[in-house]
């Protein structure tokens, strides 16, 4: 058990935290950028135009059916080169997570918008509200409530999926852990257990509160509906 002392080595913990910061940074930027992308996608998905509909369908289905890791490789090794982009591994991660998060969030948005009963639109019309007023004051507030729990869950999934960044060579928390394991292999032969254990916990500590928030939102807003 003295392998645990690896965690007390000077520099080890701060470095892991730095690595975790990279993880969180990728996740946070991806989530932040997914929001506008997702809202636009969601709106596009509600349109009746068959061409747009088909494109969005293919986009969503492709993103959904491909493993995220495969998408990361496609983005990092394939797309960047084909389009002559200078995209580093971190950039590729963000790109993939935004495309993925955007598609998923778009689908959530579509679901939320379409789940609002037609009678809400009709009531707004009868009360003389303009389309814009109806959207801002009636539809959006309700859509957001239906959307939020699912979005927080999606954020959790994005955080978890950032772990794949290590396989593109991004120096995030797992990679830092591997470097530490490597550099201390001689003093701490059982360091692997402890370092991976700590990383495991770190992910849990980041994701769990998000799960709790999603749960709480779901509970809080479940009965805040008309039906």
């Amino acid at each position: 058990m003295q392998g645990a002392n690896i965690l007390l080595e000077p520099g080890v913990f701060p470095r892991l935290l730095q690595g975790l910061w990279v993880t969180i940074w990728i996740a946070a930027v991806s989530v932040a950028m997914s929001v506008p992308v997702g809202l636009v996608c969601g709106w596009l998905m509600t349109l009746r135009n068959p061409v747009i509909r088909f494109i969005m369908r293919v986009y969503l289905d492709f993103i959904r059916i491909m493993p995220q890791l495969a998408l990361l490789f496609i983005a990092y090794y394939g797309i960047a080169r084909a389009w002559n982009w200078n995209l580093d591994a971190t950039g590729a991660c963000v790109l993939v997570f935004v495309l993925w998060g955007g598609a998923e969030l778009g689908d959530l948005t579509r679901g939320a918008l379409q789940s609002i009963p037609e009678v809400q639109h009709e009531t707004a019309y009868m009360l003389g509200l303009s389309n814009w007023q109806a959207f801002i004051h009636v539809i959006l507030p309700q859509a957001v409530r239906r959307l939020l729990p699912g979005s927080v869950n999606l954020a959790t999934r994005i955080v978890k999926t950032t772990s794949l960044a290590v396989l593109l060579g991004v120096v995030e928390v797992i990679k830092v852990g591997q470097q530490i394991i490597d550099a201390n292999r001689f003093q701490y032969p059982t360091g692997t257990l402890w370092v991976y254990g700590v990383i495991f916990l770190m992910y849990f500590i980041v994701c769990w509160p998000l799960s709790l928030v999603a749960h709480a939102l779901e509970k809080r807003w479940a009965n805040d509906r008309n039906d």
Binding site: P67, A70, L164, F204
Partner: protein, 218 residues
């Protein structure tokens, strides 16, 4: 353009990789279903202590990435003396992760069966077992199927991570080819095609199952 002779030459390796992916997925998903079933049963029956344990398990499983779970199992646990093979780790990892997702969809199915259906069965004289087999489960399946299918696809996708512990699945083959031959586009192309071949039929089958078990009630 793509080099088709290259694709022809290496296609068999992707077939092998696909078998590995399926092998890991089938056993991993089977384990996930068993784990999920037990958890869902415990949650639905509200068994005191076990219920809390299940709740903790579900939170841990859902809030940590499979890759880290695998590293921990594959590289971490040996330091405690448990050396499991890569296949074993992959299946356990997938089962551990999938168990919570499966539990969630099964529990949703069980809870969606209205109490009144059980009451009807009681009034008609059904035994507990008859109620379960002929009334509760057929209806629970209807609600569980979409989530269940989504989970199956999700787990097969997640299995791409097992290449990190040296299991020669589809992803591993693609990485390998890219590393040795540097034919990136062809490798990525085959990667995409192989996953489409594995996942599209499952996705279509899933849609069919959803329809099959949607008794379109109300």
């Amino acid at each position: 353009m793509l080099d088709w002779s290259f694709i022809e030459r290496y296609a068999p390796f992707f077939v092998n990789g696909a078998w590995m992916t399926l092998f890991i997925s089938v056993f991993g998903i089977a384990l996930a279903i068993i784990t999920g079933g037990i958890c869902a049963a415990i949650q639905t029956a509200r068994i005191p202590v076990l219920r809390q344990i299940v709740a903790v398990y579900i939170e841990i499983s859902r809030n940590t990435p499979l890759l880290v779970q695998l590293y921990f199992l594959y590289f971490g646990l040996p330091k405690l003396g448990f050396v499991w093979s890569a296949e074993m780790c992959a299946i356990i990892g997938l089962g551990f992760l999938g168990g919570s997702y499966m539990a969630e969809s099964m529990r949703a199915g069980l809870q969606a069966v209205p109490q009144i259906q059980r009451e009807n069965a009681y009034m008609l004289g059904f035994s507990r077992m008859q109620t379960l087999v002929h009334v509760v489960i057929p209806q629970a399946i209807s609600v569980s199927t979409p989530g269940f299918v989504a989970n199956v696809i999700f787990l097969i996708k997640e299995s791409s991570v097992v290449s990190a512990i040296a299991l020669a699945d589809v992803m591993y083959m693609a990485k390998d080819l890219m590393g040795i031959t540097y034919n990136t586009y062809e490798s990525l192309f085959m990667l995409i095609v192989t996953y489409l071949i594995i996942l599209l039929p499952i996705s279509i089958l899933g849609t069919w199952l959803e329809r099959r078990f949607d008794y379109a009630r109300r």
